[in-house]
């Protein structure tokens, strides 16, 4: 079995106050798939990502990456395979310079400093942030922070990329650049977002969740044009797929 296959089997998660956030979700994501997880606010998207990264653990059910089950013992193996981009880049950037931040992960692998440098430069160039290397992350614009945070994930050379609201804070040009950049990442991608146009652009498959339950799992083109389904889940057809608001003709 490919070491990139992600499988969730009937998983449940409750917050300490008893609130049931994930309610029996099951899915299987194959190697190289790009999957969008969508849902209204509070549907459980971010919680699901945290479960996938082993930041929190399921109450019932299993999640496995390849042959490895996600539990406290296997966290190191899991995290070597997966990289996560946080919703707020300020949570991800904590070192004094962008270079140091991008180098933080590779250095924790105890790699030789020359290899660390090579990885950092590669990641910075890929995300177009090389010119920011010596800048302090707190002095960057939101878009620059987002790109630097992505570089910090890419420098770890993950097999699976998990992105939580990657286009939030971005202007249209930066958003387009990020989408193009993510398109070049050939391994598995899991993206939670409210930007359904991005899902349509980037993900061939979409999972819709509502109140912690999996409502639909299908090809993006099918789900994102299903107005009735999207409406029932508090979502809307992506702008790029909506009819012209004046003459009502398809775009």
């Amino acid at each position: 079995m490919s070491h990139h296959i992600i499988e969730a089997q009937n998983i449940y998660f409750n917050y300490p106050d008893g609130h049931n956030v994930i309610n029996g979700i099951s899915f299987k994501i194959l190697h190289g798939e790009s999957v969008g997880i969508i849902g209204s606010n509070g549907a459980g998207k971010s919680t699901l990502l945290m479960l996938l990264m082993g930041l929190i653990f399921t109450e019932k059910g299993n999640i496995s990456i390849g042959e490895v089950k996600i539990n406290k013992k296997n966290l190191n193996i899991i995290r070597q395979r997966m990289g996560m981009l946080f919703q707020d880049p300020d949570d991800q950037l904590f070192m004094p310079t962008v270079y140091e931040d991008v180098a933080f992960g590779p250095r924790n692998f105890n790699l030789d400093e020359d290899i660390v440098k090579k990885r950092v430069i590669e990641a910075l160039e890929k995300t177009g942030t090389f010119h920011l290397s010596d800048r302090s992350p707190c002095r960057l614009s939101s878009g620059e922070k987002r790109s630097a945070a992505l570089a910090s994930v890419l420098s770890m050379t993950p097999d699976i990329l998990i992105l939580d609201e990657p286009t939030s804070f971005l202007d249209p040009k930066s958003r387009r650049r990020l989408i193009n950049l993510l398109n070049t990442f050939k391994h598995t991608k899991i993206i939670t977002t409210h930007d359904l146009d991005m899902v349509y652009d980037l993900c061939e498959r979409t999972i819709i969740i509502k109140d912690g339950k999996l409502i639909a799992d299908d090809i993006s083109a099918n789900l994102l044009t299903n107005k009735k389904l999207l409406d029932s889940c508090g979502l809307e057809v992506p702008l790029s797929l909506q009819n012209c608001p004046v003459c009502k003709k398809a775009k």
Partner: protein, 269 residues
């Protein structure tokens, strides 16, 4: 509001200054650490009545800052912040000790002499500490501590506390901004909401710290704080230690203020 933004910018300013390129920044952190320790021990070792002997020690942080192209005012402001604490410690001396002592042929109250001795010593040590921080950077200081076999848990505490200060000030700025925008024509923060604001601040900073810690763990952080490789001590670093410590120890043995005074005023002191 502007004061809070200023405070945040001050925290970041130390980091920014520590990344400058200069002959002092380029020195090995261990060499600067050794000289700073020698400086601190020497300053503390002075007799409580010896004010004149301390005066030449002002030149060490001054020269280091000038060579590092760092405005002296940055460090002066930090010293001024701790000055009330120092005054609080030393102010009882002039009130209790009324005897007099003869310096340069003039009689001074022993209490005031001790007070100024404490004031100068503390100011010098604080200035030297900040000079080291601002010319080295917290990460390199951490690395130096690890080289000196300081336990990693202790180094980590220092580093994370230092980083927590910026998170804390960041959150304070957000909270006060939100408060001020909804309390038009009112100055300051009402006492009645202080409790909830502080509570909110603690919760928010803890949550944020937790998220940052998660981000660290996802990048394989295991308690050891890696800040990259560091060069071995070079000849210039060894020379820096030898020259500086020689000057500092010489200044401890010979009272340069008195010697210069004697030369200028023809041996009257």
């Amino acid at each position: 509001m502007s004061q809070i933004i200023q405070a945040i910018s001050n925290v970041n300013q130390l980091d920014d200054l520590s990344r400058k390129k200069s002959i002092v920044h380029d020195l090995h952190p261990l060499s600067k650490f050794s000289v700073t320790i020698i400086f601190l021990v020497t300053v503390i070792s002075f007799d409580k009545y010896n004010i004149t002997g301390l005066i030449p020690f002002i030149f060490y942080p001054l020269i280091m800052l000038l060579a590092a192209d760092i405005p002296v005012s940055v460090i002066l402001k930090k010293v001024v912040i701790v000055e009330p604490l120092i005054i609080g410690i030393g102010i009882l001396n002039p009130l209790i000790l009324k005897d007099t002592i003869n310096i340069f042929g003039l009689s001074f109250s022993i209490g005031w002499v001790i007070f100024f001795s404490i004031l100068i010593k503390c100011s010098l040590t604080v200035a030297a500490g900040f000079t080291y921080l601002v010319t080295t950077g917290m990460d390199r200081i951490a690395l130096t501590m690890r080289m000196l076999r300081v336990p990693k848990i202790f180094v980590l505490q220092i580093i994370l506390t230092y980083r927590y200060i910026s998170i804390l000030s960041d959150e304070v700025a957000r909270i006060t901004k939100a408060y001020n925008l909804r309390s038009i024509n009112k100055k300051g923060i009402k006492r009645i909401v202080w409790g909830s604001l502080v509570g909110q601040l603690i919760l928010r900073t803890l949550n944020r710290a937790d998220r940052i810690y998660n981000a660290m763990c996802l990048r394989h952080f295991s308690g050891e704080y890696h800040t990259g490789y560091i060069k071995h001590l070079a000849l210039k670093d060894v020379l820096f230690i030898i020259i500086c410590s020689t000057i500092i120890i010489t200044a401890r043995i010979f009272n340069f203020s008195v010697l210069i005074g004697n030369i200028v005023f023809g041996g009257r002191f």
